[in-house]
């Protein structure tokens, strides 16, 4: 069974540019989560999809971030325009159920560097 995949693995862009990150969850997982880790800090929650619906987007930092999950399969996270403080590793995770005890399976992350 394929795990969670993310693309690209690395992205280096200039301030003001746009970047789109993609996440493909484990097949059959309705729940998809985005997280971000800024260097040396905690992994912070960004948002949660259940199928194509946004269940919780309380962690999205501002309106420069737009997440979509059309069709309830893969998801994209767009940052437009990117700022220096957006640099970090963006993780995607998926789980079969929405529950506190359900294990979330993480992808390898996308390392975003904004210059």
């Amino acid at each position: 069974e394929a795990g969670v995949t993310q693309f690209p693995s690395h992205s280096v862009i200039e301030k003001g540019q746009t970047v789109t990150l993609r996440c493909d969850p484990i097949s059959g997982h309705d729940n998809l989560y985005w997280y971000r880790r800024v260097m040396g800090k905690e992994i912070k929650f960004l948002l949660h999809f259940v199928k194509e619906s946004k269940q919780d987007e309380s962690g999205m930092p501002n309106n420069r971030f737009l997440a979509e999950r059309t069709g309830g399969t893969y998801s994209t996270l767009k940052v437009q325009p990117a700022e220096l403080e957006d640099s970090g590793v963006y993780f995607c995770a998926s789980s079969q159920q929405t529950g506190r005890t359900d294990t979330q399976y993480f992808g390898p992350g996308t390392r975003l560097t904004v210059l």
């Binding site: 005890t101 294990t103 390898p108």
Partner: protein
Amino acid sequence: AQSVAQPEDQVNVAEGNPLTVKCTYSVSGNPYLFWYVQYPNRGLQFLLKYITGDNLVKGSYGFEAEFNKSQTSFHLKKPSALVSDSALYFCAGLTSGGSYIPTFGRGTSLIVHP
């Protein structure tokens, strides 16, 4: 509110020695606690979780963790470290009555020396 703390940024241990990576939590209800590991250039891999029951939880790759309610800790342990255990370890937790989104610690870099 829930929080998870990993007091050590880095832990160094010699191969073959026991290792401990510390985690403490602060939650208002019954905690659910997790350990993840991130190997270089890889995603976070689930190691183990405590939901209820036995305080000693066994996980992948020979790791185990002990839930200690009185000390509000959930330290990760392994009896004999391997060089290949060198990685970044994250503790995460949430409360049974609160948000279903886990709170993560800052991560601890484990370095196992040959």
